[in-house]
């Protein structure tokens, strides 16, 4: 009754038409990639936080579980991250690693041993204390059998030898090889520290809710495909140095509900059925704004959305063709036309929020003339239908993509138009998320479209080294591979950043990736909700969050 009860015709028409526009958004609109690194857009801080209340949050997709160490999708982590703390935390502005459960740490010069000095006042929600033995139990499990179902954590622990318990509150983690990414990895939710009992519990039961952490919230209930409720942990007093609130969380409860339909999330926020919602699509932003709410956004660190070419087969075995693709794409237009203000055009293979990112916007400029020149010189001449050809072969390439991110199809259709302007035919091949792995293994693709979130530049090694997944299907080389291996053995931040910058330049110069845009998280929050924050991996944190009480 707060709004008009007599619906004017225009309003009615708009109401009837709106759902039709959402047609494409009906099925799944989870954001692509795993995670994001985040900053809390500073809420209006002149008001004093008031404790109490329940925050109702609408998740855009179903979580796969609530075990911090096993889950990988954003929505799962929105819940799981509240339950557990990590050894360290990462500043989302600077990328700096700061204390959390560990007061301090020492890293050996060769980057193989990491000694953590733990806080001595931390307890898990079952009352057991955090000790060096707990850390050992967690890492041993993840490096062992649990690793099979906790792949992210296992990949961070590659080369793990052991964890030594030096004394009750000192643990030393030893690797066989230098592991420069490990310290950042300890700040991620995948390496969150859970209680001793949880570390040895059955993985499937953990996923369903048998998890005990030391976080600011405790799991009250979790229902598959439906949602979860978490309640405030009494006596919580060990947040990371980055949190403003150094005591118990303000919110009494957070109620997560899975709401797959984006229009329903936005409508629910506007009609006060939710206090905050995930995955706000561009077309829903006006509704959130109109209801006095705001949309918080943050770019995901890691590999931006790219086309990654398969260089083992024609025509993309020709470096000139790959370079031409990079010059033919108008990245700003992608963002302006089919995405929203929340998104940024890619200016490197890494997203701009990734520590070690380097700006290559010059190399990734739009220069259709230069692209055409490259193709001309490579012997690709315009054919009758406007598509270039060489020796009777049309310059037609395909792109394999899974519609994990809602905007993907529109983006790729625009890329298709842009490439067509220089005489390249792009064929879209949509696959299900489940099928893409099999397709990648088969090698039957020209380019693969995806993104990966990670707040450490080591993600380049995973995605571009010939010893990694080798999506490029290229032979080992003397330039890029050594750079990617060497950065993992380089502790000095400046020197490591140099290597990572060289690697990015090399990837772009060789056309081993055609970066398009940077994925961003967009979270709608009601006007009376404050302090909802992103962490450095762009997952949400609710420890500082509060709701104005009447």
């Amino acid at each position: 009754m707060t709004r008009t009860t007599r619906l004017p015709v225009r309003l009615l028409a708009a109401t009837l038409l709106a759902p039709a526009l959402l047609l494409s958004a009906c099925a799944s609109d989870g954001s692509a990639g795993g995670t994001a690194t985040g900053s809390a857009p500073a809420a209006t801080t002149d008001a004093r936080p008031t404790p109490g209340g329940t925050l109702r949050f609408a998740l855009g997709a179903s979580p796969s579980g609530v075990d911090p160490q096993q889950v990988g999708s954003n929505v799962s982590i929105y819940i799981a991250r509240q339950l557990a703390d990590s050894l360290t935390d990462q500043d989302l502005e600077t990328g700096e690693i700061v204390p959390w459960l560990a007061r301090s740490w020492d890293v050996s010069d060769d980057l193989t041993t990491f000694t953590f000095h733990l806080r001595d006042d931390v307890t898990f929600s079952d009352g057991t204390p955090l000790t060096a033995t707990t850390v050992k139990a967690n890492l041993d499990a993840l490096a062992g059998e649990l690793g099979a179902v906790a792949p992210l954590a296992a990949s961070y622990l590659a080369g793990y030898v052991e964890t030594r318990v030096d004394d009750e509150h000192t643990a030393t983690v030893v690797f066989a090889e230098p592991n420069a990414q490990f310290l950042q990895a300890t700040s991620t939710v995948s390496l969150a520290i859970l209680s001793d009992a949880t570390a040895t519990a059955d993985p499937a039961e953990r996923l369903q809710g048998k998890v005990v952490g030391s976080g600011p919230f405790v799991l009250e209930s979790y229902t598959q495909d439906q949602g979860a409720v978490v309640t405030r942990r009494d006596g919580y007093a060990w947040p990371s140095a980055l949190r403003e609130n150094d005591g118990e969380a303000y919110l009494e409860k957070i109620q997560f509900t899975v709401v797959p339909e984006s229009g329903v999330r936005a409508g629910g926020l506007a009609s006060d059925q939710f206090d905050a919602v995930g995955d706000v699509l561009p077309q829903d932003v006006p509704q959130v704004d109109g209801a006095g709410g705001s949309v918080l956004t943050r770019t995901n660190p890691g590999v931006a959305f790219v086309l990654q070419p398969n260089v083992s087969a024609a025509p993309l075995d020709d470096v000139a063709v790959r370079q031409a693709l990079n010059l033919a794409i108008d990245r700003q237009q992608l963002v302006d036309t089919v995405l929203s203000d929340a998104f940024e055009p890619a200016t490197s293979v890494l997203a701009s929020t990734t520590p070690g990112y380097t700006d290559l916007s010059d190399e990734l400029r739009l220069d259709a003339a230069a692209a055409a020149q490259l193709l001309d010189d490579a012997g690709w001449v315009p054919g009758e239908d406007g598509i270039r050809a060489k020796d009777g072969e049309r310059l037609s390439i395909d792109v394999v993509y899974a519609p994990l991110f809602t905007g993907s199809q529109a983006v790729l259709e625009l890329v298709q138009q842009q490439l067509r302007a220089v005489g390249v035919d792009l064929v879209l091949r949509q696959v299900t998320p489940g099928d893409q792995q099999a397709l990648l293994d088969s090698g039957d693709y020209d380019t693969y479209y995806y993104n990966v979130t990670r707040a450490d530049a080591d993600i380049l090694r995973t995605q571009f080294s010939t010893t990694g997944r080798n999506i490029n299907r290229r032979a080992a080389d003397e330039t890029l591979d050594p750079l990617l291996t060497e950065q993992l053995a380089t502790g000095e931040p400046g020197a490591r950043a140099d290597l990572v910058a060289q690697a990015q330049a090399e990837i772009v110069e060789q056309g081993l990736a055609v970066p398009l845009f940077e994925l961003a998280q967009s979270i709608g929050v009601a006007g009376d909700v404050h302090g909802v924050a992103f962490d450095a991996s762009s997952r949400l944190l609710f420890h500082d969050a509060w709701i104005e009480q009447d």
Binding site: A58, S62, S64, P151, L152, Q224, G267, G268, G434
Partner: protein, 317 residues
């Protein structure tokens, strides 16, 4: 009669076995690999390590031959054990047990609304003497079938949840949360029922016994209720057996739009993640529901139609 029921039960078991087998074969033939999907866990393929995938396949029993996998799954299913979900580790029977009552409430109310709405509309259209009103009423069913379910759902949400806060937009809590989804689900179904029933009623009104009844002084209303409806309801009843299957399919869309827990959401999630044990369990349950409903429909015929009663009595003898 007993023999008839026993024969029907035996046929039902064959249907269930066939559904189970075909589903298993289809899932097995899909090119993707459940272990990789699990490991991927929404990370866009960042984290699938072949060695881990192999270990996981072994843990899930996916490294065995397809025949072995089929037989062990079938054997367990025969004893009521549908296995555990690959994706969540929860027992399949528990997942379905949780989801089914929610969907039963939803489809039950939708069915009720659909039958009431469809029968009401058809009766009104056949009873009225106004040609214009009849034309208008009979134009509604095609419209009801034509509009997409999710669109109807979103319009109802906009009007009765977002603009006028009458019903909650999401969830399974209480009767209020059931109203909009059930109405949404009922619309196409009631339209189908109305169409078939109206056709039958038109035929019945032209039948000689109607003329006789009218000649004996029965009112139009009495003829409509006592004679026309009963005679015209047989085709609609047959149809009902088929459309209950549509209700389960419609639940996928409706439960997604209204964020309800239930059978449809479970189907959608299990198929997306190629969660073979869950999909198999769902197919079994859906097939069982379908078989039971059709059996009930067949058993209801004799109650409505003396001719089938006589036929049954002869065949049982």
């Amino acid at each position: 009669m007993t023999l008839y029921v026993l024969r029907r039960v035996a046929a039902a078991l064959v249907v269930l076995l066939a559904a189970f087998t075909v589903t298993f074969v289809v899932l097995y033939l899909l090119p993707s690999d459940p272990a990789s999907i699990m490991l991927d866990a929404g990370t866009g393929g960042a984290s699938v390590d072949p060695a881990q995938a192999e270990a996981l396949r072994e843990r899930l029993g996916l490294d065995r031959s397809p025949v072995e996998q089929y037989l062990s799954a079938l054997g367990a299913a025969a004893t009521g054990d549908l296995g555990t979900s690959y994706a969540t580790g929860a027992p399949v029977t528990a997942l379905i047990g949780q989801a089914l009552p929610e969907t039963a409430r939803l489809t039950g109310l939708a069915l009720l609304l659909a039958v009431a709405g469809g029968a009401g509309l058809a009766s009104w259209a056949s009873w009225t003497r106004s040609a214009r009103l009849r034309g208008l009423l009979l134009a509604l069913p095609p419209l009801g079938v034509a509009v997409p379910t999710f669109w109807v759902g979103l319009v109802l949400l906009q009007l009765l949840s977002f603009r006028l806060p009458v019903f909650p937009a999401v969830g399974n809590q209480g009767f209020a949360s059931l109203v909009l989804p059930a109405v949404t689900l009922a619309i196409p179904l009631s339209a189908t029922i109305a169409q078939v029933l109206a056709q039958g009623m038109r035929t019945a009104w032209a039948a000689p016994y109607v003329e006789t009844a009218l000649a004996k002084g029965a009112t139009r209303t009495r003829v409509q209720v006592r004679h026309v409806t009963r005679n015209a309801s047989l085709p609609a009843l047959t149809l009902l057996g088929v459309v209950v299957g549509n209700l389960l399919a419609g639940a996928v869309v409706v439960e997604t739009v209204f964020s309800r827990q239930g059978f449809g959401r479970l189907v959608q999630a299990a198929v997306t993640s190629q969660d073979i044990p869950v999909v198999l369990g769902l197919v079994l349950v859906a097939a069982a529901v379908f078989v039971v409903v059709n059996l009930l429909v067949d058993l209801a015929y004799p109650l409505l139609d003396p001719r089938t009663r006589a036929h049954l009595a002869r065949s049982a003898a």
